[in-house]
Amino acid sequence: MDGIISYIRRKLSVRVSLWVVMFAALIFITALGFLFYQSREAIRQEAINRATQILDKTSLRVEGIMNRVEVASKMTEWLVQRHPDKADSMFVYSRAMLLNNPDFYNCSIAFEPDFFKDRGRYFSAYSRRDTPKNNKMGETIRTSLGGSDSFQYFYMDWYLMAKLFKHACWTEPYVDVDMSTNTGEMVSSYCYPIMDNEGKVICVINTSLSLNWLSQTISAVKPYPNSYSIMIGRGGTYFVHPDSTKITRETIFTKTLLEPDTALTALGHAMQRGEEGMKQMTIDGQDCYVFYKPLADTGWSMGIVCPESDIFGGFDRVRHAVMGIVVVGLLLMLYIFIKVITRELSPLRRLADEAETIASGNFETQLPDIQRTDEIGQLSQSFAGMQKSLVKYIDELKNTTAQKTSIERDLHIASAIQRGMLPKNFPTKDDRDDVQIYASLTPAKDVGGDLFDFYIRDEKLFFCIGDVSGKGIPASLVMAVTRSIFRTVSAREAMPDRIVSNMNEIIADANDTNMFVTLFVGVLDLPTGRMRYCNAGHDAPLLAGAGLGSLTCDANIPIGVMQDWKYSLQETQIFTGTTIFLFTDGLTEAENANHDLFRMERVKEVASQALAHQQHEPKQLIDMMTNAVHQFVDKAEQSDDLTMMAIQYTKLERDVRFSKRIVLPNDIQEVSKLTAFVDEVCEVVGFSPAVTMQMNLALEEAVVNVMNYAYPEGTHGDVTIEAKTNDVRLKFTIIDSGTPFDPTAMEDVDIHQDAEDRPIGGLGIHLVREIMDSVNYERVDNLNVLTLRKKLRKNN
């Protein structure tokens, strides 16, 4: 079975043919079903008509004959009533009845008991047709007196019926046995009551009719070869039946006594009630139609039993023949359809084979040349067109793939370059005793728009963190530019507000794409821990030290938006051990799969935990934060660049071993005192004479610079020089109250230039830088504070 189904599934021709044949079969079945149903109904109706006609005819004939008996009885009534007292006349009347009606069987005029006082209890004038043996004269009529103790006629059915009903009626048929010949004849009596003036029955005229003719008439009714007729009396007794043993012995209900048969019982009752009609039932295991009708007014009923096979025999033969033709025709149709469709579809099979070859990668395969204009021809042409397009498309695809690979390679390189721009070496405890830094940048795409940077110049840590609007390559380019500008500007500016303002001017000037950058720039003075900063629309950094808090930031707009925006400077003191945590909005706005944001609260929570567990060193803090973000985001795609930078200030105050100060007026002449002061200090720390000379040179340059620039000519002021030393370094602090002057902001002179071409003064600071380890300028409390440091080394 499975084999057949899979074969049908595989074969389009078989499937289509089956559909067509099934549909045709459906139409045939519907049409033939309707036809057969209609034909059957017509035949049924024909059978009903036929049977009804026969029944009507028979009934009419019976009625005709019965009528004669009834009329004759009526005539005799008149005679009896005219001479009711003349008993002997009754013999004449009964005899005359037979004489006048040769087909009457017998006749008796029976009176009530003791009606004629002189005739005893019984008086019945009885005449009977007699055919004695050996009588060549033919039949005679024998008239006698009926009734005796052994034949009390007034208890007989015929007498009592007429008497009780008081109207004429037919008795049930009965078999009259002739004792002399021991033969029986089925007869029925018409009993006619005659009443006196008071309406009392005085006698009954009983005229009998042999029913042999009726039996023969009804038995002869045979509309179909195997049909037969029956006749039953009021009590359902069979009086005509093909099985003679049933006649008078059985009734229509006899069979139902032991085995109930509701159909037969219903038929019996309907016939008893004198109804006319037709019933369909099973008789002796055969489906039959029974047509029935009452016979005149006798109370008897006649039925014709027609086997269905007889009625519908011819019809069934035609039906079977038609069904046979249809089945054979459909099978033939199926065979032809399969053949034709298979032939018509054969090019399709070839096309399918070639398509398989193409599918396997052989695009140049030659397609079959199908010279047809139908759908298969069109399909073949379309296929050829498709093959051409496919070849072309594959070529284009190859080019596009090559281009894409090239772009990807470029992007990888760009990414590497961008990563290369960021500082890779982070100062740790081992590198520096005053600051530790760690940072991470994870772009959302190959390249990103976040940036961070830091470097140390003149014992100052310059750092920045920023976020360029947008993502991808455009943002990455702006980021690269911003970072370069930061480096350039911060090389000569030490104040964050000025650095930011300068950067803003440069970026806003050429900002055709309307991109902007949020930026935080800070400058941490490493010896003092003082931090100056400027925030251009960036997230405020966190400070994790004695406690956790956000750095207070003024509301400045991002850079690149308004060229002439005045950025404010802010300042704070960073205490030893405090970590400054900077980040971009990629941290607070990291999204998980439910589009929930990481938020500032979580950032602070993680930072608090880090602080609580003393894990707030830059790398520890950033690692913890990174883990927390990864855990939160889980498998969701990273939506924005994520950048974090942490700076921990770790400067330790050391014991001052030696301290000395000198105050000089702003008079160049007083500088000689400085030399003695420096010599003394250098001696204390144990510098070599050469180094001591360098110290003198540097101090002199710095102090003269101050005297020249801080105090304009003609003004008086003091210059205080302090010297302090601990175990590690020697520090000179030059303090004046003149106009603000930052010698470190002077551009380094080009030492390769001729002396005449160089601007005045620049050489001095260059010299100082060369000699000292660091030169640091601070403007504190309206004082210029210049700090020069020199490490104590063994060879100094």
């Binding site: 052994s150 034949f151 059915d157 009592l160 019926m161 029986g184 009590g235 008078t248 059985e250 109370g299």
Partner: protein, 317 residues
């Protein structure tokens, strides 16, 4: 002359045994109705040779319309017949002593079947069919007691009057007319059938009777006959199917317009009536209490002039 003597001797030789048996050993038995299962036991006894084995020569001759059973008995055409108890009481009361040599029925089988599903007890003045030859005594007693004022219509036989609608109700034997009515399509319900046995009229029916004169002359013969008849009935109760076959042979022989189904039902019911309600056994005896009850009922309705006692009925006083 010699020839004449020879003829005479031959005639004597042929007639002698017959005459002897007719006088001494032959009994002609006429049941009170035509051949049917009501008399199955006697047919069995004859067919199975129980009579022959008992040494009694029995000939079963059915009554004719001109010679009913009782008339045959009176004329000594037959020596034994079956009678219902009430009939026997009437006959004895009228002056013909009888002997019950075997009582077969232990129960009353009479019913009233009413037309159109009416309760016979609620149909005052109804036209009720009753057999012209008797058997209806208990029904008349009942109708008097219940003040039903039935109009009794005497009829000779069969159910045609009832079926034709000329009667409102008819008396019927549960084993005979009752099934004929069912066979004629009459629907029997709980309402339209009144069974006398269920309403205090359970009086025995069929028994085997002889004229007391004959009995007293041939007591041994009567006993043998009764014994073999009882044997026939007992065999019939054990072999209903074979009994039915035998019954049907008698039915065919006598050309009775009946059929096997009806006879089967009749046999079943007759055998059922032979089982005593109290002892649940086939007792084959006349019950004195039932004789007294029948007498009482009939005397109350003036059907008997005097009381006929149980002792008058039975063979051994």
């Amino acid at each position: 002359m010699k020839k004449h003597i020879q003829y005479l001797m031959l005639a004597v030789a042929l007639l002698l045994p017959q005459m002897a048996s007719a006088q001494d050993e032959t009994i002609v038995f006429t049941p009170q109705w035509t051949a049917q299962a009501q008399f199955a036991g006697y047919y069995v006894a004859e067919a199975k040779g129980f009579y022959r084995k008992a040494g009694v020569n029995v000939r079963i001759e059915h009554p004719t319309s001109t010679q009913p059973a009782m008339s045959r008995l009176r004329k000594n055409v037959c020596q034994a017949t079956t009678l219902q108890l009430c009939q026997a009481l009437e006959i004895i009361d009228a002056g013909t002593p009888l002997v019950n040599i075997l009582q077969t029925s232990m129960n009353n089988a009479m019913v009233i079947v009413s037309a159109r599903n009416r309760n016979p007890l609620k149909h005052k003045g109804a036209r009720v069919g009753i057999w012209s030859v008797g058997f209806g005594q208990l029904a008349i007693c009942m109708s008097q007691k219940e003040h039903l004022d039935y109009e009794w219509i005497r009829f000779a036989q069969n159910i045609n009057l009832f079926v034709a609608g000329a009667l409102d109700a008819m008396l019927a034997m549960s084993y005979n007319e009752y099934y004929q009515l069912v066979q004629a399509g009459v629907v029997m319900t709980e309402d339209n059938v009144y069974r006398f046995c269920d309403h205090g009229y359970n009086v025995q029916e069929d028994g085997l009777y002889m004229l007391r004169d004959f009995y007293e002359e041939h007591p041994a013969l009567a006993k043998k006959f009764a014994q073999a008849s009882r044997q026939g009935w007992e065999w019939a109760a054990r072999h209903p199917k074979e009994t039915l076959d035998i019954v049907m042979q008698y039915v065919e022989k006598n050309r009775i317009p009946t059929n096997r189904v009806i006879q089967e039902l009749m046999l079943k019911d007759v055998l059922r009536m032979q089982v005593d309600r109290e002892s649940k056994r086939r007792e084959f005896r006349l019950r004195p209490d039932m004789v007294r009850k029948a007498c009482k009922l009939m005397r109350e309705n003036h059907m008997l002039k005097r009381e006929v006692t149980y002792n008058e009925l039975i063979s051994e006083k």
